[in-house]
Symmetry: C2
Subunit: 417 residues, 2 copies
Amino acid sequence: MQIAEYMNQLGSQARIASRVLAAATTEQKNHALHLIADALVARAEVIIAANLLDVAHGRTLGLDEAMLDRLSLNEQRVRSMAEGLKQVASLPDPIGEITDMAYRPSGIQLGKMRVPLGVVGIIYESRPNVTADAAALCLKSGNATVLRGGSEAIHSNQAIAACIKQGLIQAGLPEYAVQVVETTDRDAVGQMITMPEYIDVIIPRGGKSLIERISNGAKVPVIKHLDGICHTYVAEDADLTMAWQVCDNAKTHRYGVCNAMETLLVDAQIARAFLPEMASIYRKKGVELRGCSRANEIVAMTLATEEDWSTEYLAPVLAIKIVAGLDEAIDHINTYGSHHTDAIITQNYAASRRFLAEVDSSSVMINASTRFADGFEYGLGAEIGISTDKFHARGPVGLEGLTSQKYVVFGQGQVRH
Amino acid sequence: MQIAEYMNQLGSQARIASRVLAAATTEQKNHALHLIADALVARAEVIIAANLLDVAHGRTLGLDEAMLDRLSLNEQRVRSMAEGLKQVASLPDPIGEITDMAYRPSGIQLGKMRVPLGVVGIIYESRPNVTADAAALCLKSGNATVLRGGSEAIHSNQAIAACIKQGLIQAGLPEYAVQVVETTDRDAVGQMITMPEYIDVIIPRGGKSLIERISNGAKVPVIKHLDGICHTYVAEDADLTMAWQVCDNAKTHRYGVCNAMETLLVDAQIARAFLPEMASIYRKKGVELRGCSRANEIVAMTLATEEDWSTEYLAPVLAIKIVAGLDEAIDHINTYGSHHTDAIITQNYAASRRFLAEVDSSSVMINASTRFADGFEYGLGAEIGISTDKFHARGPVGLEGLTSQKYVVFGQGQVRH
């Protein structure tokens, strides 16, 4: 079968399944999630054996140790995948919620009902646990899913897919509610992102180049997570101890994550009091500092270049800039940032209000570490990604981001005059 | 100046203006709207003179009378444009609203703040009043706007743009907050829809071919309004009198609108009781009926073809199909409809619940005319379009559809453990 034909078949099966899923009860969906979790545990050995094939193949391809680690499954990891499915089952079902019910002057009663998006396409790399996680979130939110994992994890993903299929069938839900693309042909992705008749939204999970490639080629909406160039601005009247603690945490709690701080902005009025101790904290932890010339007048460090202001290091490196005040800080963030997460440290009421209103990011924080920008910390229960778009879902995306709202009208025979 | 360079300049000016607008107070925005309304009335003669040029030119181009009517302005129409602006000023300001505030276990307090999208691009045809209406809605919702009207209305649009500019300047807002593209070069549209760095969303207003062309070429999200193939399903246990009245209204109240019924689905159990009287009501009003073979067994009418089920007539023509029951009705609507507005007439509780949940349309109604699907009837105060997408805004789009929500976090120095 040709790739286009194969993908169209998957899409058309998903579309049909999505209508059944949209009408499935909460109990049915939760039951399926538990059955899939049980199947994963019961078949852990089969999954791990399939995974060994992928890891061995990955070694011959020369994948680095970090990638091999992300790819690897063991019994512990399979169990935690199953645990994740049960947690999704325990979350409230977003579907069917009706809000904003009100009578209109015409006599009709109007509200908004939360409904699934339809069919969600997920395109991801290496980590096979995404297969189970993403399928669970889409299933709970009543969406059918087409999953396309990386070729390096194909055996693992197929083994997990078999468990999902078994759980769906046992629960009486359509087996095509979750489909894992079985070919490693690259053309499958091109086809998948250009069939709006079958797929309502694409969620890419992976590196920046993958996401840009998909965004550029897609003919359907994309919920995309690009860079996290997060800032903390230490304002003139920050509490110094708080500033040291929060800035330490925002940079050093974890380096390779999108909500880690990459640029520290310091108000010129507080720089001499704040920066020397801050620099000493970072240096004890081995963080390389790259500062503007004014920062260098206070503490000697590498001189930052223009490029540093728009770099997501994902590493123990921090750019530091002295700014004249709130205006310059906001301007810098809106110009060089990635609209992900930015924080101000201040005791000033007016400054906190302006920072909240004027910084154009998916999360804006006062006196807190940027590391809090995360679906679990925000109480979403789970996260399928962090959207740096403004459209539809913004910031950490949980179940609600996989839904839409339609208007519902209750009448007693009203006609329009 | 080259077109690309010109459009980039407009875009970059809009981006800068959007930051000022995002921080503008409700009072400033309302003041600007009133000043623009005053300028329109004060310069009505100039606007009408410019419009006469467009209408005269339109005649030489051979535009039909309906198009010329949509294009024409007179003092009455200019006044009602000004009235519209004042109405938008009187609507509540959506910007800055914070909802869902809650403390998280970490001690941070989390909420969602409503903010503008940024820069909205509007691409529209003939009606010059869109220039003022769309600018007003974008301004009120804190967005900068780039407006590209049809070449047939270029003089009218420029005259209205001058009033908008005057009002903005008098209110102390950036003159680039609303910009009307001054060239009629078609390449301007191609450029406008492919500059995501400057324009956050495109709203096309016009015929289906315009909207499809823009959707296909756009590199930014599009809030699009395609067909309105709306259905009414008269269920087995409908109240007959109510069904006649509602179906009459849904089809004949206005023919050329997107929320008019185009296909009537009738349950086989009620068809003999319902259809003869219904057909007689429609025929008195000159509506051409095109029915399936089973409908023809009850009332003689044109035999419908497969094409009729997916046609938006926008005319006194109605397709009629007899269906076996609720399942077939829902299936027909989800297959042939345009996900716009669909209604059921029934006294059965379970049928009404299933119809609401399973019909995948932006408005789903029980015992009411599809004609109610409209921003004013829904209490949005105004409408920039009706979205047939599921993503972001769905159904009638008012001020809220021109906004986004960002997460705001209030802390007292919290760090992540």
